[in-house]
């Protein structure tokens, strides 16, 4: 009896092990340095929620990417660099890592050397260190869709279009209110450059992290009487800015939010003070896009949705997470087409990102038409020429108020190259060529 029960246990265990290995033969892993608590939890839960929802959709609907299942695990960073590094060290030993997505400029900076040694891509969608756009110097870092300089150029072009042309910017007064972090400071030089180029007056005012006290800054703004205020905020800083603007009598429709000040979580807490506020975005909000609909049906219908509050489905951060999921998954798919349908190495996925070209037709096929425009990454352009649009808050939802606008990439590229070449010199990095980019480490 005991013998048979042992035998049966052993048989079950063997079957289980064999079955498990058979199911998980090919697996691509995403380590997630997420943040679900702390001052930036709204951004973290929305973004990582959307990202995980899309990975789940691919697993449930397609059984993975060409048979390779997608896997992930999370580590809490609270948006702090030390914790981000700790999570990186904890998760980096997992097999089959596709890419890192920390969603924090500070953490991304601390990881650049490390992931370059590991040869694994680091994705900083819509943010990051601007000069990492130059793939010649930063082979493994991808500020996808929109780097901070492009965003700045997009915002200035939009203000110009409201004023009736770039020549009308002369003599206008613009204030940039920025978050006191590496992310917030990233655009200081480019605003100064554009102010000299177009002749508008500029003052840039810092709000110390996390930004829940801004009386002094807005009193300064009131004294300046600017035509526009650009809000380069993050997390709790944004609703506080809108409310303080209302208190000091600055009209919300002359405040232009940047790409991290553009979510529902930024405007809803501000209540009426946010009505008329306009913000830049790379991805539209709302649930009407086929891919979001499929996530609602397949993932949330299956009880596997990641957002606790279903009303946040289709919000700006959730949709950004979904777009980020699309870009990561498509990079894996493109790399698979070259290297085979198996678990890829980080360097192979890097090759995939460097060939990540999704034209509007392909975006439509992915169910994301109008959700985002297109992307065209190459070995030396790691941003991929993302388009931007502007949306205005009407008190209940965001309404798109502009076409897809292209930032002035030609103007920005020489500045980016100057900065990245200085970095290469400082760190003794050899500038990469197209042949170097095609050499891929496959084990």
């Amino acid at each position: 009896m005991t013998f048979f029960s042992h035998l049966r246990k052993a048989a079950i265990a063997t079957a289980f092990v064999l079955g498990a290995t058979a199911v998980h033969a090919e697996e691509q892993y995403f380590p997630l340095q997420s943040y679900r608590v702390g001052p930036y939890a709204a951004g973290g839960t929305g973004f990582f929620g959307g990202f995980i929802d899309y990975l789940n959709l691919i697993n449930i609907r397609d059984g993975g990417v060409n048979g390779a299942k997608l896997a992930w695990s999370e580590g809490e960073t609270q948006y702090e660099v030390e914790k981000g590094v700790e999570v990186y060290e904890r998760l980096k030993s997992n097999p089959g890592i596709a890419a890192w997505n920390p969603l924090s400029v500070g953490i991304a900076y601390a990881m650049i050397d490390r992931i370059t040694d590991d040869k694994v891509p680091l994705i900083t969608i819509n943010h990051g260190r601007t000069d990492t756009t130059d793939g010649r110097v930063f082979p493994y870092v991808f500020p996808l869709l929109l780097n901070p300089y492009s965003e700045t150029s997009g915002i200035v072009n939009y203000i110009a279009s409201k004023e009736g042309g770039l020549d009308k910017l002369k003599g206008k007064n613009i204030v940039v209110l920025y978050h006191g972090s590496p992310y917030g400071k990233e655009t200081i030089p480019i605003y100064e450059l554009l102010s000299q180029k177009y002749g508008f007056e500029l003052s840039q005012i810092e709000v110390p992290h996390p930004g829940n006290e801004q009386q002094a800054q807005w009193l300064t703004i009131r004294r300046e009487h600017p035509d526009y205020v650009v809000l380069r905020g993050w997390g709790v800083m944004n609703p506080v800015a809108l409310k303080t603007a209302q208190k000091t009598g600055f009209p919300a429709d002359h405040i232009i939010g940047n790409v991290w000040s553009n979510s529902e979580e930024d405007v809803i807490p501000a209540g009426d003070a946010a009505k008329g506020y306009t913000a830049i975005t790379t991805q539209a909000s709302g649930e009407r896009y086929p891919v979001v609909q499929e996530i609602v049906k397949t993932v949330y219908g299956d009880g596997k949705g990641n957002l606790e509050d279903n009303s946040r489905i289709g919000s700006v951060y959730h949709n950004l997470g979904i777009v980020n999921g699309i870009l990561n998954v498509e990079a894996v798919r493109i790399a698979q087409a070259k290297f085979g349908n198996r678990t890829l190495t980080g360097d192979e996925v890097r090759w995939g990102f460097e060939h990540l070209k999704l034209d509007p037709a392909r975006v439509e096929a992915l169910g994301a038409k109008d959700l985002f425009h297109s992307i065209n990454v190459s070995w030396d352009n790691h941003e991929g020429d993302g388009y931007v649009t502007f949306q205005q808050w009407d008190g209940k939802k965001w309404n798109v108020v502009s076409d897809w606008i292209a930032p002035d990439w030609k103007l920005l590229r020489p500045i980016i190259e100057k900065s990245s070449e200085a970095y290469a010199k400082e760190k003794g990095i050899k500038i990469r060529t197209a042949e170097d980019a095609d050499a891929v480490v496959s084990n």
Partner: protein
């Protein structure tokens, strides 16, 4: 005079204790240079040991000032920042400067800075001194943010660590950075150990226990206080270099905020003022519980066990 009397009254050598100490030191060496580099996982080195070593060293430095000399300081992370940014700039602007010299120069800049912000201690005591050292904290962060020169005009004000090499040997790997850290910490801790047992160390204690009495028996109070500020800041400055170069490999001014100063102060308060060993014990537990607990039940339990062990 009083100091010489103390020296003469030294107890006869206790051989059993000396042997015990020697054995402990040997065991420490074997673990630090043999066991850890050979067996420790990357996670243990990169996420636990490197911050542990850097902050412990900072705590040893602050302990010299606060624990031994009795001068309360809330500017520790400012001195770390001066060290880190100093080392970065010396390394960047002076071609071919050896790493050790860079670190010593960074320490000296921090020491000079410490002396300047130590001057109020000649007139202020206790809470008032703590508040005046707060000025160092805010001044340094402001200056590093305001003047782009310090971060080589990097737009976001973040510096990244250069290649680390000693005598042509690269120390960029995790083990290399660990060895650099552990050697620096051991050397400086040994020096501090020597110092607190010397006449100067006794002067520190005399000033802490009763300034007036110390002055009466001939301790140069002014010089002693400034010396304490200088040496303490020197050590904290080098701890800042380790934090930036060996642990994070990148540093922004906001990384050296008031929180970090408090963290270091609490390490020495919990570990015991005027206890060098305490700096190391508490850092271990505060590291895993305060900094790294969320999202990691694993390090939580480790923290609990270490805490139980140390108490």
């Amino acid at each position: 005079m009083a100091v010489q009397a103390l020296d003469a009254a030294r107890l006869p050598v206790d051989w059993a204790k000396l042997v015990q100490k020697l054995a402990l030191a040997t065991a420490l060496f074997v673990v630090a240079y043999g066991v850890v580099p050979a067996y420790a996982s990357g996670y243990l080195v990169e996420a636990i040991l490197l911050p542990f070593l850097a902050l412990s060293l900072a705590a040893v430095g602050l302990n010299l000032l606060t624990g031994y000399c009795g001068q309360l300081s809330l500017g520790s992370s400012a001195f770390m920042a001066v060290g880190a940014f100093g080392a970065y700039n010396f390394n960047l602007r002076v071609e071919g400067l050896p790493l050790a010299v860079t670190m010593i120069l960074a320490g000296i800049s921090a020491a000079g800075f410490g002396v300047v912000f130590g001057l109020p201690s000649l007139r202020l005591r206790g809470f008032y001194l703590a508040v005046s050292t707060l000025a160092a904290q805010f001044f340094v962060q402001w200056a590093l943010t305001k003047f782009g020169w310090f971060s080589n005009d990097n737009p976001s004000g973040v510096i990244s660590a250069p290649h680390l090499a000693v005598a042509g040997l690269s120390l960029d790997s995790a083990t290399g950075r660990y060895l650099l850290s552990v050697t620096t910490v051991m050397v400086l801790t040994a020096l501090v150990w020597r110092l607190v047992n010397s006449a100067t160390g006794r002067n520190f204690i005399a000033v802490r226990d009763n300034e007036t009495a110390a002055r009466v028996i001939g301790v140069p109070v002014l010089r002693t206080k400034l010396l304490a500020f200088a040496i303490s800041s020197f050590i904290i400055g080098i701890a800042g270099v380790l934090w930036a170069f060996t642990y994070l490999r990148t540093v922004e001014p906001a990384g050296f905020n008031l929180d970090r100063s408090f963290q270091i102060l609490f390490i020495i308060i919990i570990g015991g003022l005027a206890s060098i060993r305490g700096a190391f014990w508490v850092r271990r537990s505060s590291l895993s519980s305060r900094s790294f607990c969320p999202g990691s039940a694993h390090s939580c339990s480790a923290a609990c066990s270490i805490r139980a062990f140390s108490t």
